[in-house]
Amino acid sequence: VERQTAIERINELLDDGELETSNTSMRIPTALRDAAALAVKELGIASSATALTTTALRVTLEAIVMQAALDDHYERHPQARPDLGDLAIAAAELDDHPLAGQPGRLRQAAVEIAANHPDASPDDVLLWAEARALPAA
């Protein structure tokens, strides 16, 4: 229950449009601080190092809380947990990949790649399936 409450609360905080800011003392590696300052000044990637840090923190928290919600769901509904083949198909469909219409081929590629690379990603599966689909030279 505590984990679920934390997920809810993090989501509430991320959605809070309040513009109030806090001065936070945070020790970060000096080299990282200097790299951020340089990126802001010379590459123009954000209006300030603070803005860059804030955006990066938000993106990270959003990803973490989304995965936490999914993990919590998988714990309570194990049958909902997608396998590597499901994820490869979903990735292909989201991107209109040329193999999106061939779920059987993608599932086979997932089985093959998982045999040697248990931590393979859906994108790894797509790459492997695409390579397998190429005619032999």
Partner: protein, 137 residues
């Protein structure tokens, strides 16, 4: 440029209900989005508010707690988008929620748009000239 993943009525209903035959499939899409967010890919799932109405998605209802936690953003029907939606509905004769889907698609900045839908024909109709990826569930 952010990759927009727009959910239709059946997609959100499938997401809510672990017993829905397409639940695992839509969860797979959400998992791929979460994986990409973790890699700091700019990707966002959105739901037009008219779709929420049709699907019965009340964000205050405990029945919708899982979709609520996945940080699926509302795309509201404001004055300008209501005008666009009315035009789409007048021209195509699709439902109010599909007209709102069309508005979200047409008003999205240039970038990748994927529509997760059980009705690919209507989605291509309401998309107009916009290039979209249709992920048929």
């Amino acid at each position: 440029m952010t990759h927009l993943v727009v959910l239709d009525c059946e997609a959100v209903q499938a997401l809510r209900d672990p017993g829905h035959p397409k639940h695992r499939r839509v969860v797979s899409q959400a998992q791929v989005v979460a994986n990409r967010k973790r890699r700091a890919v700019a990707i966002q799932m959105v739901v037009p508010t008219a779709v929420r109405v049709e699907a019965g998605w009340d964000r205050t209802s405990p029945a919708w707690v899982f979709p609520n936690r996945l940080r699926i953003a509302d795309s509201p029907l404001d004055t300008a988008s209501a005008n666009t939606a009315a035009g789409i509905r007048e021209r195509t004769g699709v439902s109010v929620s599909d007209s709102h889907m069309g508005t979200v698609i047409q008003s999205a900045p240039h970038g990748q748009i994927t529509v997760v839908t059980s009705d690919p024909g209507d989605m291509r109709l309401v998309a107009g000239d916009k290039n979209i990826t249709v992920d048929t569930i």
